[in-house]
């Protein structure tokens, strides 16, 4: 089975490297996880292959375990991957809720929106009638 993340520790060069599958974890997710680690590690990113992004973590505190650093970064990747997928999945619901909130704050907007909808429907009907009229001729 292929792993979505491969963790490689290098005690001699003092870094831990994660090879992350970019089809599962977007660049956005990796940068967000990196942002959380700014005070704990120096972070370098490079492409390992077409679908893999290498994340090098150089610890700032030498007492920090490289293994723990790598595993905690992995957790942060999962956290942000979940956050962004939820954001995408809920985008339509959030939009509807915001619309409702706006309409309830300004009821005149509802009337305007309804009027606009009616105007659009009338236009559509008129265009259909025109098309049918030209076909009969």
């Amino acid at each position: 089975m292929k792993k979505d993340i491969v963790l490689e520790k290098n005690e001699k060069e003092d870094f831990v490297k994660l090879s992350v599958d970019s089809r599962i974890y977007s660049k956005e997710t990796i940068f967000s996880a990196g942002y959380i680690f700014l005070d704990r590690a120096y972070i370098y990113l490079d492409k390992d292959s077409a679908d893999k992004i290498g994340v090098w973590l150089y610890r700032k505190d030498k007492k920090q375990s490289l293994d723990t650093l790598g595993k905690e970064f992995y957790n942060e990747l999962l956290n942000y991957a979940h956050y962004y997928s939820s954001l995408r999945a809920n985008a339509e619901s959030v939009k509807l809720l915001l619309q409702r909130a706006l309409f309830s704050a300004a009821p005149s907007m509802v009337q305007e929106a309804e009027e606009k909808e009616i105007e659009d429907l009338i236009k559509e009907l008129e265009e259909e009638e025109k098309k049918e009229g030209s076909k009969k001729k």
Binding site: E13, D14, K27, F31, S32, G34, Y35, L38, Y42, I43, Y44, L45, D46, K47, I53, Y58
Partner: protein, 73 residues
């Protein structure tokens, strides 16, 4: 310590950054916001080569983190 992404030419250290992961506009923003730290940058095939002014390897690592910070700002 040996950092594979750093290159030394005389007294100047350069950082090698993948174009797909570190877009050009991000580096241009870094230059705009921290003009005192960056000497120049050029693009070669898949990489940007950013030359830092009077930098140590520690400064280069800090620059890498600055790019992560700037990307989220």
């Amino acid at each position: 310590m040996n950092y594979p992404f750093l290159q030394k030419q005389g007294n100047i250290l350069s950082v090698r950054l993948n174009k797909e992961l570190y877009p050009q506009d991000l580096i241009e923003r870094a230059i705009k916001e921290e003009p005192a730290g960056i000497h120049s940058f050029r693009t070669q095939k898949q990489y940007h080569l950013v030359r830092l002014k009077e930098a140590t390897s520690e400064d280069c690592l800090a620059f890498l983190n600055y790019l992560i910070y700037l990307n989220r700002k």
